[in-house]
Amino acid sequence: MSEATSNASKRYGLLGRFHDADALIVAIRTLREEGYRELEAFSPYPVEELNEALGVRSRWLTVVTLIASLAVAAGTYWMVWYSAAVDYPFVVGGKPLHSWPPFALIAFVLAILSAVVTAFLGMLCGNRLPRLYHPAFNITMFERASNDAFFLLTNVGTLTHDEIESLRSRLTDLGAEDVQEVPP
């Protein structure tokens, strides 16, 4: 990878490897204070503080799931009521046409189903999955992101050569064990 250093525009970013999550969090906080905004952090298991450090928050998934399930519950109840009380009014077992106990049960089950589907698809869409190619996959050491190492990817698309070099040394100062350039 080092032979590609001459041309800045061909780089996507700098990838730094850290030994533990704490070092990574410190590095993120420091870089963000210094004005770097386009940072991506990778860890082999969920680390809550990473998002706080990155300043990433997302609440829409829960809200969307809730709205979807409520809407489906209402829609289902309406459909069941319409079909059993309006479209095909038919008395079975002496029950009223509008039999709310079973209708509510069905609405509840389908609300859960829609919550499951929304949450799952929401997770995939929010994470832009499936996305089989990612620039970091070019780097051999990135294999350890799913094993035992922590990574910080800083986007350097708009930086000059010198700025990149200073960022590289900054990463090393902050405890990165290895820093490599990532092609786009």
Binding site: G93, G94, P101, P102, L105
Partner: protein, 375 residues
């Protein structure tokens, strides 16, 4: 009748001396007791009905607290480590409730239709006489009360060492479950002697725990750390949904099968105003608390939780009335003696648990350390 009067008056006079230091509570209790006595003279059956309703309404709270303490003893968890005082203070009122149930044994014939003459009973009820008969009923009731007093004494004993859970907690919980179940069959379900439902005991157990969680949070939420509030609120939400599941199960099974002895229970409870009491209590006890307990951030805030708990407790009050009252043919006095019985029992329970515990309940945070030193 006479025995009841002497019992009540003697307990009243002997208490007067102890009460001089706490005038407001004493005054309330004395007035309420006097009114209850008046009620016993004026409308004996209505007072008994009101007394039973008030009793289950209030005594289910310490009963639920017992279960919480034992479950926590078995599973551990920060939620109970930090909140156990409030449950123990509530459990301490159990002996009073045990005493307060005894007068009702005098009026079994007024409360329970199956006490009527054998020939006048319908067939299915006659078949139940092997279980529903006066001596056996009284013996069972005394057994439940003794067990509960025993459990409450064991649970309110100051813990000798915090590290090890007493070995009797697991069997204690089993005994608790069985006594609560059969108590409810005896004292609630048999009010309508043709009705039967084997989920009833589970449903009542869930109600006990749900309501005491609401009460505990209402009392003590300010003194708890936000993470503990969250845990307790989640526990409340879980048991609340569990109760909803049980209640709905009974409803849909009885509704679907539409058998006369079962559905009449619901028909009694959907007549006239009871229909609206039922709907309102479902709203206040289940729907609103459920919605309010969904957002995680809100469950850390004491004001929010206190409001939720207050709403749920009003719902609980309505729900218990909906559960018990429609079994009776009531007189107009019910509206007077219903609240009086509740006030009497509530103040009596507060008086019973004593200064320290009462203050701990009312102003939980300020007294917490004092209480620790005291024990």
């Amino acid at each position: 009748m006479k025995r009841l009067l002497t019992y009540l008056s003697s307990s009243g006079t002997s208490a007067v001396r102890r009460f001089r230091q706490q005038p407001p509570l004493v005054l309330t209790l004395q007035v309420a007791l006097a009114l209850s006595l008046l009620g016993a003279l004026m409308a004996w059956s209505t007072l008994l009905q009101a007394w039973l309703t008030a009793w289950v309404l209030l005594a289910f709270l310490p009963l639920g607290a017992m279960a919480l303490l034992m479950v926590h003893g078995l599973t551990g968890g920060a939620w109970g480590d930090e909140s156990h005082l409030v449950w123990r203070n509530l459990v301490a009122s159990m002996p009073l409730f045990a005493l307060a149930l005894l007068p009702l044994l005098l009026g079994l014939d007024v409360l329970f239709p199956w006490m009527a003459a054998h020939d006048t009973l319908p067939d299915v009820v006659r078949h139940k006489r092997f279980y529903l008969n006066e001596p056996f009923f009284i013996a069972r009731t005394l057994l439940y009360l003794m067990i509960w007093v025993g459990l409450s004494l064991g649970l309110t004993r100051p813990p000798s060492s915090r590290s090890s859970t007493p070995r009797w907690y697991a069997p204690g919980l089993i005994v608790w479950a069985l006594t609560v179940t059969f108590f409810c069959y005896d004292w609630l379900m048999s009010l309508e002697p043709t009705f039967y439902s084997d989920i009833y005991g589970l449903e009542i157990m869930a109600i006990c725990v749900v309501s005491v969680l609401a009460l505990g949070l209402f009392i003590s939420v300010v003194s708890l750390r936000p993470s503990i509030r969250l845990d307790l609120a989640n526990l409340w939400l879980a048991v609340l949904l569990g109760w909803a599941f049980l209640a709905f199960s009974q409803l849909i099974i009885v509704w679907s099968a539409n058998l006369p002895f079962e559905i009449s229970w619901y028909l009694n409870r959907s007549e006239g105003a009871w229909l609206w009491v039922g709907r309102l209590s479902t709203l206040l006890f289940l729907a609103i608390p459920f919605a309010m307990l969904l957002p995680t951030a809100a469950k850390r805030r004491s004001g929010w939780l206190r409001l939720t708990a207050a709403i749920a407790l009003v719902g609980y009050l309505l729900h218990m009335h909906w559960l018990v009252w429609p079994s009776f043919t009531t007189s107009g006095w019910a509206f007077l003696f219903g609240p009086i019985a509740i006030v009497t029992l509530a103040t009596a329970a507060l008086w019973w648990i004593g200064d320290t515990r009462r203050h701990a309940l009312i102003a939980f945070r300020s007294v917490e350390e004092k209480y620790h030193d005291g024990t």
